[in-house]
């Protein structure tokens, strides 16, 4: 794992492995802790970031050793901004089934993006051609503005 600090943003380029998922989760936890958020919020943020990393490594890059996941962590003072990008074939969030729909409730998968959206204040998807970048934002100190 290589880190390149740019002021308050740190970017990592990682291989497509579960080990990378764990590293990204730990980095999110450290960032949230450093920002002074409470334990419950640390759990939510690190879990959302873990789910995004799982998506990147498993669904995006399909564990391809030639493909990388990029994860950047930024504390702006007002917000935590985490970006997770893969080099896969792209993800259209509009096509994802609703995991709360009765017909999907007993499915063994498909809850990752839902949990990310539940735990973060803002979630943005960007197509990279190839790949997808998820931007996860948690606002600190003030109520979420995403009404």
């Amino acid at each position: 794992m290589t880190g390149q600090p740019e002021r308050r943003r740190v970017t990592y380029t990682l291989d497509s492995s579960l080990d990378s998922v764990n590293k990204v989760e730990e980095a999110a936890e450290q960032l949230a802790r450093k920002a002074g958020v409470d334990e419950d919020e640390i759990f939510r943020i690190s879990m959302a970031v873990r789910e995004a990393a799982v998506n990147a490594v498993l669904h995006g890059n399909a564990y391809d050793p030639e493909k990388r996941m990029t994860a950047s962590f930024e504390f702006t003072g007002a917000s935590l901004v985490i970006r997770i990008a893969d080099e896969g074939k792209g993800l259209d969030p509009a096509t994802l089934p609703d995991p709360l729909a009765p017909e999907n409730l007993l499915r063994g998968s498909g809850r990752g993006i839902f949990l990310i959206r539940s735990f973060m204040d803002e979630v943005h998807f960007r197509q990279l051609h190839p790949g997808t970048e998820l931007t996860l934002i948690k606002h600190l100190g003030t109520a979420p503005t995403g009404a």
Partner: protein
């Protein structure tokens, strides 16, 4: 980082005491293998004690659902015991809290299984 599983029998019910993390990879696979192993031995009354599970991700939640449906499809019963607050909250958010039969007392959980 991994999950611990120990197994015990009480009044015909197999209790899996789980601890640690149920996440993509090791934890989820361990849980799946343990439940399959029990079913292959004809042990279809399964109680998952999640009291020491401090973390579960969407893969782990999916594995709980899969275990539940697999056991039920084979005519068995799978219940959950001693949810931590985090796991409780996750099952609520995902609307699975009312799907599972969830107990917070081992004796009453055992008593709730149908008598063969």
């Amino acid at each position: 980082m991994s999950m611990k599983i120990s197994t015990r029998q009480v009044d015909g019910v197999t209790i899996l005491d789980l601890g640690g993390r149920i996440t993509l990879g090791e934890g989820s696979v361990q849980l799946r293998d343990s439940v399959r192993d029990l079913l292959s031995k004809g042990q279809k009354k399964i109680l998952l004690n999640l009291g020491e599970v401090n973390y579960i991700d969407s893969s782990g939640i999916g594995e709980l659902v899969s275990a539940y449906t697999t056991v039920r499809n084979q005519g068995g019963e799978l219940k959950l015991l001693n949810l931590t607050r985090k796991v409780h909250d996750l099952l609520q958010i995902t609307k699975l809290y009312t799907v599972f039969d969830i107990k917070d007392d081992e004796a009453s959980a055992i008593a709730a299984y149908a008598r063969a």
